[in-house]
């Protein structure tokens, strides 16, 4: 009996496809998310919009809080660790979380290195803006990728940019010959074996979700039509006027993303979406997507 294998790590992400993973900060929010049809919840101390507003160092959530969330729901629980903070990851693994998000939403603990994720039994998801970044994270052992987007803004434009950039990168590889793949390896700064694999299959070797700025059912369906496998919603649910109804609407929009009539139906009467931020108005040092490499 083998545990912690690549197949079971990537496999759990396969099971989450076509689903919505929602940020929650306590057990009550976790139950609302589960009731609304979330496939998983992400435990964290503050949602990205509040981290952005309040500033300060954002860290792993309190273990008691994580355990309360784990106990409150039957769906898998993810939790965030700081980039490079392998001890936060060790702690989260002992708490029984099902996935760790090594996340730029928290304040990075290491500016040079991400966590060596091969050392863990629990799988990891990491953010990426482009193909090279995704393959570096997979090279470090990530079993799932998500776009970085720009968290806590309620503005989907960066997630769209990252997904399109990823797709362009994959399509480009498919047209290169062996010699060109090596120079592409140099340019992307990612493992050659993974680059060859993507060139051959035309897809990332792991599941790729959208994240960072998704606030409405249409945002979610847009990311699905761009080719994402599923959607993370951070501040978009619990910073909105009616979290339970909005959460369910986003879940339905992800399943029926190809049917605009259903997206229209679930989008009606949802009340206030979270207040959005224009990315151009964000000072460079407040752009979370620039964290990590």
């Amino acid at each position: 009996m083998d545990q912690g294998t690549v197949r079971v790590k990537r496999g759990l992400a396969e099971m989450l496809k076509g689903g919505v993973i929602m940020d929650v900060t306590n057990a009550e929010q976790a139950r609302i998310a589960e009731e609304a049809g979330a496939v998983s919840v992400m435990a964290l101390e503050r949602v990205p919009a509040d981290i952005r507003r309040d500033g300060g160092v954002a860290r792993m959530a309190d273990p008691t809080r994580v355990e309360e969330i784990v106990a409150a729901v039957s769906i898998p629980v993810m939790a965030k660790a700081r980039i490079g903070h392998f001890v936060e990851a060790q702690v989260l693994e002992t708490l029984g979380v099902d996935y760790i998000d090594e996340s730029e939403v928290l304040t990075p603990a290491d500016e040079a290195y991400h966590i060596d994720k091969w050392q863990f039994t629990v799988p990891f998801v990491c953010g990426a803006r482009n193909l090279g970044e995704a393959l570096r994270r997979i090279g470090e052992g990530a079993a799932m990728i998500r776009t970085k987007g720009e968290p806590g803004t309620g503005n989907v434009v960066e997630a769209v940019r990252h997904m399109r950039t990823m797709n362009d990168g994959i399509r480009r590889l498919q047209n290169l010959d062996e010699a060109q793949l090596m120079s592409e390896t140099r340019d992307l700064g990612a493992p050659h074996a993974l680059i060859r694999e993507v060139a051959e299959t035309g897809a990332l070797p792991v599941v790729n979700f959208a994240a960072g700025g998704i606030a409405t059912p249409s945002d979610a369906a847009l990311m699905m039509q761009l080719g994402c496998d599923g959607v993370f919603v951070g501040s978009g649910v619990f910073k909105s006027g009616d979290p339970a109804q909005r959460a369910r609407a986003i879940v339905e929009a992800v399943t029926y993303f190809e049917d605009p009539q259903i997206v229209a139906k679930v989008s009606r009467g949802l009340g206030e979406a979270m207040v959005g931020i224009e990315i151009d108005k964000l000072p460079d040092e407040e752009r979370m997507q620039e964290r990590g490499w």
Binding site: M1, D2, Q3, G4, T5, R7, V8, G11, L12, E14, M15, L16, K17, G18, G19, E34, G37, A38, V39, S40, S74, I75, P76, E93, G96, V97, D98, Y99, T121, V122, P123, R248, V251, E252, V254, T255, Y256
Partner: protein, 193 residues
């Protein structure tokens, strides 16, 4: 080979992996999201995923009744992991989950543990000469079985593969390994009528 059209319930989960496995065997597949999609199929697969999510989406979109009816009428059906839970009559731990109740078993969700306990193992299956490589992800097991349910495989004494008439249910994920034998079993049921 007769033409077989298999529906794969595509509300959430790894439905594309099932569809790909079936297409490699020469079947035509339909991704089932509406009642209309259910009407023209010869067999059905309910994939791995989150059983609570799949149950809610089926309920909200009026699929529970039609699914019960078609499977109850003998539509050959295979459920894997979440699919097994959705087919079952009850779960051991909670009562408010939407389930079809067409498979006369009680399942225990996440019975083998959380993700860190997920595992791969060789399991022997009644009727197959070589073992099946089972991928168990936060997997359920079957806690109680009704009359008319045959246990085809067990892990540590717990049923993980059962058959009841034209329904097959597994705790593990044959769609992730490239082993086509269980999908073949489903297609054989259609061909044998």
């Amino acid at each position: 080979m007769t033409f077989v059209s298999v529906g794969v319930l595509a509300l959430q989960g790894d439905f594309r992996e099932h569809a790909a496995a079936l297409e490699r065997l020469g079947a035509e597949t339909t991704l089932v999201r509406t009642v209309a999609d259910l009407m023209s199929i010869d067999a059905l697969v309910i994939p791995g995923g989150e059983s609570t999510t799949i149950g809610k989406l089926a309920d909200w979109n009026g699929l529970v009744g039609p699914l019960r009816q078609r499977i109850g009428e003998g539509l050959p059906t295979m459920g894997t992991c979440a699919g097994m839970i959705f087919l079952a009559g009850a779960t051991a731990e909670r009562s408010d989950q939407v389930q079809l109740g067409v498979l006369d078993v009680v399942v225990r969700r996440n019975a083998f543990g959380r993700q860190v306990d997920s595992f791969e193992a060789e399991i022997s299956v009644d009727g197959l000469s070589d073992p099946v490589h089972g991928v168990f992800i936060r997997a359920p097991w079957i806690e109680k079985i009704g009359d008319g349910v045959d246990v085809l495989a067990e892990v540590e004494g717990h049923p993980v593969l059962v058959r009841q008439g034209s329904i097959i249910a597994t705790s593990f994920h044959p769609e992730l390994t490239g082993d086509a034998r269980l999908h073949t079993l489903l297609l054989d049921m259609v061909r044998e009528g």
